[in-house]
Symmetry: C2
Subunit: 226 residues, 2 copies
């Protein structure tokens, strides 16, 4: 039986969209929020969209302990504080999937502009802050949150960065539980500094096309995790 | 009748690949090189691949004057010197399409690592250096040069950045003369700093998949230059 999927910041747009899709795919989802009541309320909404699903809503720190692969979907400006609060909750052996996007929106600027993170990327900042033994993987920066939450058909790739292929493959498996998503091995964790900038790029494209654009990598072999 | 397409640095991998495809599509191509003999030799090779095509090989400065939309496909480390040499050759009203990629390969490092350009991107450096009245557009960073030159089928997008949509649309038209390429309006010229990093990203992906990967933007409307 599959283990629960904790989503830290699961009341936000991306976290909620992922929760809905995983719940609809039969996964057991645990929504985390700073406030337990907001988490419970979001869990109710997910259950409405996926009536047969097992969905819990808990405070972030409690949620983080509920499964081996933890998704961090808070806004970038809350990443550092959230990881500080999770320091005792995350355990060696867990995988932390950082989905945060460092854009100028973090301090009131445009979401189509990147900001420079000293460590190189938000993912590398997460790695610096995560407890010893927790592996950080970077993923899910290019999937439209409203498209996920709205039940729209998606047909696109999720670029996964990290330093160990086996860990990336475990995250890939969860990503591909969502209909229409294909996981692509996009390189070492340091490559997250490129992938994280795809969000502002897509925001710039969406502004022109009134679209909910995503990314597809062309020319890959079929057996792409082989 | 269509005007010639000057390709500065057309003896290099990307420039040569573009020359072959445009020649095969019936366009008149002008290959530029620092040395006229090397340009002539590349032009011979293009003619061998596209026997009916009109192809010239000229020194860069001479080539640059032969058509309204000039493609700059030199390695990034040669961009600055090349633009200095073209200062008298480029004329107001021309469009300069910068295809250079600022990676650490410019000083012997890895091509999968970006470098920071003070102006924000190679394209913005080109804009700073281009003569008054010459518009700079950024494009063609994600198309595999060997795939183009080798005649492989491609089915992917070319992201085009620039500050005026009408200029981008003119470049888009030339890009789409190549079978399988779709041009996407990726935003203002400043967005080139993101698009230019897609080359190192694809290099990282190709290293893992032994592929010649490209990019496709999903979720766009059909009439994408309307």
């Amino acid at each position: 039986m599959a283990e629960p999927i904790p989503i830290i910041g699961g009341t936000g747009a991306l976290g909620y969209g992922l929760a809905v899709r995983w719940a609809q795919a039969g996964e057991h989802v645990v929504i985390g929020s700073r406030q337990a009541e907001r988490a419970a309320e979001a869990a109710d909404r997910v259950r409405a969209a996926a009536p047969d699903a097992e969905v819990e809503g808990l405070q972030n720190a409690e949620a983080a302990g509920r499964g081996p692969i933890v998704f961090l979907t808070v806004p970038f400006r809350a990443q550092s504080e959230t990881l500080t609060n999770l320091r005792d909750a995350l355990q060696p052996g867990q995988i932390l999937v950082d989905c945060t996007v460092p854009t100028a929106a973090a301090f009131g600027g445009k979401a189509s502009r990147t900001i420079g993170v000293w460590q190189g990327s938000a993912a590398q900042q997460a790695e610096e802050m995560a407890p010893e033994g927790v592996t950080v993987i970077s993923a899910l920066h290019t999937v439209s949150a409203p498209a996920l939450a709205g039940g729209e058909a998606v047909e696109e790739d999720v670029l996964i960065c990290g330093d160990r292929k086996t860990d990336k493959a475990r995250v890939a498996e969860l990503v591909e539980r969502i209909d229409g998503l294909r996981a692509v091995n996009a390189g070492a964790l340091e490559t997250a500094r490129i992938v994280e900038t795809l969000t502002p790029l897509l925001i710039a494209i969406n502004a022109r096309y009134k679209s909910r654009a995503g990314i597809r990598i062309t020319g890959l072999p079929d057996d792409h995790w082989g």
